[in-house]
Symmetry: C2
């Protein structure tokens, strides 16, 4: 008889955002007239920019004629997009990537979820705490997390607490690990690492043979000079790190779906018999077996982000969201709330006021101010006592939310 | 130190179509003027139909305005598409699917590759032989296939030979299995099962607790009355079968990427402690954790397939390809070649002539007739002595290929 993957059954029933949706639904059913403002989930509100729209229109028209129709694309993405990424995102940083080190996909969530398949089931995994839940859940599903404690920690994972007391800088792990998930600018805390702090992690990985899975989905939101936009700005990172990037937040592609992952040839892992094998080769095999590429019009749209018009238009939208972030930060600070992030990231990470725990503050915000945010505890035990707000709503609604924050206790 | 997934390292280096591409590339470099006709890989050549193009244009325009912009979509697909599938593909067959039994994705290859994650690593897997390589490779990557023998068989899999001698009807497995992959109309043989033959499999699964993973990607090509278009036309299948369908071959979406998978609530597997768990719930958890939905314009395009215009236009394209199939069948039969498939499927499965093995015939066809096909042995040991041709090229090139077949020995 067929049996389920026992690791899947260990997962708690409800994903964070499903629980939030449930509470919001219950509230709106009870209060249908409530004017709710959503500063919770990280979805964008501004339309695709004109350069992207035009490129997608043209590509759809190409699909209408036999002479220009596109069937299956190259497994790892069209050259026009791969080359635009190399020239547009990496060359300006002094990072020279080979053509076959860049892999186009339909989302960073998918890639970051699937990448763990390349490693042995016995690999020891380190995650920051709080953390984007996908890193944890996908490793739990693969059997690397062991059992879930009543406190919400997986016994098999190594957690790296990040909180105000350590400046949200994770300490190097106390016991050996093989895979390290880092996300900067960070979701959910909105904080960044300096070059020096990131260099420590690269050096640690080099010294121990660990691999860093670096999620840079929010790099477009960095405003301060000197903050690394790619881990490959750090010496030696090309030998120990894989980097995940996305058009979702850079160019509003949450409903359009395009991302890319960089897997340098120099990143290798043990092959079980004393040799080494490139992760690049393993990812190629994984993707060509389980994935069939991204829609041609979508790849054309993504490539348009790198045109002068596309660059200016997407940067203007990022600036729009960052003005929202400033408004939220200022409104909270005016009430004496301690605020982090929101300077190099679209996320504002606040201390919950009045000693409320993070789900209690969620309920308070929803019921009293009709604002939806995300409880810090949903991102891990060290998120307790914190709360995440996002800058992705419209300017008008963000201003209205800021007015409501004046009523915070 | 990080270690690779040892199961990934067991996979042979080169995927079938990569090896074909390599040989074709070598030949064209040596003979740059050769007029090669491709009847190999199953990619379509006809453009998206006008109804789909118009829907995608309109959807791209929606993405350009804040009022109609779409960010993250529903995890399992937009209701407009799910409902179109239920009403358009299943209601006419007398199959009533619940809304949440249909899951939209970016490709059947992805879904059929990922679905095995829901089962225990110890599950025993049966595949037909010859077979679409993805079923085999993804189970090998998950550790269910054991070791690869020099003969190209995985010791841990149960192979169900399909050849002319048994009418390409797989016999029920002789030892117990938990997961059974069936694909009808079949890739690569182009053959189908009758209702009675499929009923035997459903009954077997019911009696043994096995789950059937049914790949119906080519259902639009069925021309004969009475051939089941969905496994759910068979009594009891809703309790034992998951069905994978795609817009790739139905509507030319190989470069546009949309598919769907049906997971009935009644299909359950053991939970390891004497109870049962729905595969539907496990697939929901898997998809919401590792996948982020399909591009909105693509889902709008797929839904347009179900409009009266879209239906007529896509059916006309299918008929165009099936005329190609007839031309290929007739040309081969005129040379005394034994031919299967090509009546209810876009694939023609031929005996290799003159006692050539299937890779030798590949080389002969390429070098002598400048035609690219797919060696049967690439689909499994029982494919030896057979060769696959596809009906997806243009009518003009298919006719030219048919003229060349007159020179077959």
């Amino acid at each position: 008889m067929a049996e389920a993957n026992a690791n899947l059954l260990k997962l708690p029933g409800s994903y964070l955002f499903a629980e939030i949706a449930k509470r919001v639904r219950a509230f709106t059913q009870a209060h249908p007239d409530a004017d709710i403002i959503r500063l919770g989930i990280g979805d964008v509100t501004q339309p695709l920019c004109p350069a992207v729209i035009q490129a997608m229109r043209d590509a759809v028209d190409e699909m209408a004629r036999a002479e220009t129709f596109k069937g299956y694309g190259p497994d790892y993405g069209y050259a026009f997009l791969v080359d635009a990424i190399r020239a547009g995102d990496y060359a300006p940083l002094g990072v020279d990537l080979a053509f076959d080190e860049v892999f186009i996909s339909d989302g960073s969530k998918c890639d970051v979820a699937n990448f763990q398949e390349l490693f042995s089931a016995e690999s020891r995994v380190a995650v920051t705490d709080p953390v984007y839940p996908v890193y944890v859940d996908t490793n739990a599903m693969a059997g690397r997390a062991g059992e879930l404690t009543p406190q919400g920690r997986w016994q098999g994972l190594v957690y790296l607490p990040c909180h105000a007391e350590n400046g949200f800088v994770p300490a190097l792990p106390e016991r050996p690990v093989d895979i390290i998930y880092l996300c900067y600018p960070n979701n959910p805390t909105g904080t960044t690492l300096t070059r020096g702090q990131l260099q420590q992690w690269v050096d640690y990985a080099r010294d121990t043979g660990a691999v860093i899975l670096y999620d840079a989905a929010y790099r477009a939101y960095i405003t301060r000079a000197g903050i690394p936009r790619s881990i490959y700005e750090i010496a030696g990172a090309d030998k120990v790190a894989v980097e995940f990037c996305s058009f979702s937040k850079t160019a509003g592609f949450t409903g359009t779906r395009c991302a890319y992952t960089v897997v340098p040839h120099a990143v290798a892992v043990g092959d079980g018999s004393g040799g080494k094998v490139e992760l690049n080769a393993l990812w190629k095999r994984r993707q060509s077996t389980k994935f069939n590429g991204v829609a041609y019009p979508v790849q054309r749209g993504a490539a348009a982000v790198y045109t002068p018009q596309g660059r200016a238009q997407t940067q203007a939208t990022v600036a729009y969201y960052m003005e929202n972030a400033r408004i939220i930060r200022d409104a909270l600070a005016a009430r004496g709330v301690t605020v982090f992030g929101g300077v190099d990231a679209p996320y504002i990470w606040m201390r919950t006021p009045a000693g409320l725990d993070s789900w209690a503050f969620f309920d308070y915000l929803l019921e009293s101010l009709h604002i939806v945010g995300t409880p810090g505890a949903g991102f891990g035990p060290s998120g307790e006592g914190y709360f995440r707000l996002t800058a992705f709503n419209t300017l008008a609604l963000t201003r209205r939310a800021a007015e409501r924050f004046a009523k915070l206790p």
